[in-house]
């Protein structure tokens, strides 16, 4: 019997040694399945089909948004932003469907502006925004930057009457607000500023300059100088911190749920700095094991507290669903094919994809997560157009 037990245990050990390193082969796909440089990939089509359904079926949309808003109202706005930007990219990739995409973009933008007007800017913020802001009049840079990015993306595809004035107004408000702060930064929450929002805002300003022939390069340069002097985690990683006070005191250090998208947006204003941030994030946060990739939320040198942005963090490996989802955007934008493939393998293995009638959703994700994934599959043409690339 002892002999049989020994054989059994040895067989188990050998089987484990064979299976664990091989498992990813069942989930790894060609990169073109997730992201194609020219056309819409199969994943992009399926994700887009589900999102287009959400915005044409009011009941389904209301249900999905209510589920998300019960956890975090910010995700409602971010989901809209990622989807509008995705549809903008898709319009340039797939001109045959441009009219349909533009219709949905306009529906989302119109409803977002209406909600802001009727319910106030705090409608898209978490409850802790219900305190006085330090800078008056009160505004949230989170809202301004994301709405500006939506308007700019829409106009990059095709001009729409009225949107030029709306974007100009939003850009002017952001810049004025930022100039009021001691370090040229604006609050997203009372005395709380986020690099994610500032990067999105700068990208929107850069797109507005391309569209309207304005030039805010000096302003952008000044902000970048301040950011590199005051907002880097210089002691350890050299990464931009995630959040800070109006005076520039860090609140949260570098985080995966911020830096990947921040680096992506900064590509439009300072390619070298953006690439440096991506490579640092890749080193500190981007991980892979036996063919599966993921992102940590925090670098090894600093550990924050789990919050709504990180989501639950799987211990030992420090896997964050929120950070991993946004890592797709970074990897796609910076052409990191190996990391992107390993992330996509993890997505298929551990995010529980469900396809119904050609519409894909990931059960472990939510609307904003899926919208960010869609964006990662299609981003590129809008930034290229702004930079004058073919």
């Amino acid at each position: 019997m002892k002999n049989r037990i020994r054989r059994g245990l040895l067989a188990l050990l050998v089987a484990t040694a064979i299976w664990i390193p091989s498992l990813h082969f069942f989930f790894i796909r060609p990169l073109s399945n997730f992201r194609d440089p020219r056309v819409l990939s199969p994943k992009a089509r399926q994700l887009a089909a589900r999102h287009l359904q959400l915005w044409t079926d009011p009941q389904l949309r209301s249900h999905e948004l209510a589920r998300m808003r019960s956890s975090n109202a910010e995700w409602d706005l971010m989901g809209r932003m990622f989807l509008v930007c995705s549809l903008g990219e898709m319009s340039l990739r797939n001109p045959a469907e441009k009219a349909r995409y533009l219709e949905t973009m306009d529906l989302i933008i119109a409803e977002t502006l209406r909600l802001e007007r009727e319910r106030g800017f705090r409608f898209f913020l978490m409850p802790y925004a219900n305190r006085p802001y330090q800078v008056q009049p009160e505004r949230s840079h989170f809202l301004d930057s994301e709405i500006a990015l939506m308007l700019a993306s829409r106009r990059m595809v095709e001009e729409k009457p009225g949107y030029k004035a709306l974007l100009r107004e939003r850009v002017d408000a952001m810049i004025a607000h930022m100039k009021q702060g001691p370090i040229m930064c604006a609050e997203s929450y009372p005395n709380e500023c986020w690099t994610f929002d500032h990067a999105a805002g700068l990208a929107a300003i850069r797109l507005a300059d391309h569209l309207d022939g304005t030039d805010h390069s000096a302003f952008i340069h000044d902000w970048l100088t301040i950011a590199q002097n005051k907002l880097l985690d210089n002691r350890n990683t050299g990464l931009l911190v995630s959040s800070f006070t109006l005076d520039g005191e860090p609140i949260d250090g570098p985080e995966g749920s911020s830096i990947w998208f921040t680096a992506y947006c900064l590509r439009l204003v300072d390619e070298n700095f953006a690439r440096d941030q991506y490579e640092r994030a890749r080193k500190e946060l981007g991980k892979s094991l036996v063919g599966f990739g993921w992102s940590r939320e925090w670098p090894a040198s600093w550990r924050g507290r789990e919050d709504i942005d990180s989501g639950p963090v799987i211990p030992v490996l420090d896997i964050s669903a929120g950070a991993s989802g946004l890592a797709f955007i970074g990897a796609s934008s910076f052409g990191d094919g190996d990391y992107l493939r390993s992330l996509a393998a993890t997505l298929d293995f551990a995010a529980f994809p469900t396809v119904k009638q050609g519409r894909l959703k990931y059960c472990a994700s939510n609307q904003v997560g899926d919208a960010a994934l869609l964006y990662a599959t299609v981003l590129g043409p809008l930034w290229d157009k702004a930079e004058g690339k073919p």
Binding site: R4, L9, S71, G311, F352
Partner: protein, 119 residues
């Protein structure tokens, strides 16, 4: 009750502990458990990983409970069951190449120790 469980653990499974049959039956059990979890719709509850309740009918904590249950069932199906089946296959191969040589059982009143004599 504890006697019943004790007896169940002491009872030798068909084929013996860590035998190919032992592994195969346990793999089948894990597959069946996963199918039940899948059919029960627990997959939707994994949305808790994104901080979102799986359905309207559940709050985040309930979603987390169902979601974690599904994840364990899924890992049993995708990771553990194939390992068990591979182990069973390896053992069968091993036994064909090198048959088991078990030491003879000691004689007592219950076992027969008769030795055939060739004449």
């Amino acid at each position: 009750m504890s006697t019943h469980f004790g007896r169940a653990f002491r009872h030798q499974p068909r084929g013996g502990w860590l035998s190919p049959q032992f592994f195969a039956w346990r793999a089948a059990f894990l597959v069946a458990v996963f199918l039940v979890a899948q059919l029960a719709g627990l997959r939707e509850q994994t949305a808790f990983l994104s901080g979102t309740p799986g359905t309207d009918a559940t709050d985040l904590h309930t979603s987390a409970l169902y979601g974690v249950t599904y994840i364990f069932c899924y890992l049993g199906f995708v990771v553990v069951a194939p390992i068990l089946l591979l182990a069973a296959g390896l053992l069968i191969l091993w036994e064909r190449i090198e048959p088991k040589t078990e030491p003879p059982k000691p004689c007592n009143a219950k076992t027969s120790c008769a030795v055939e004599s060739k004449s």
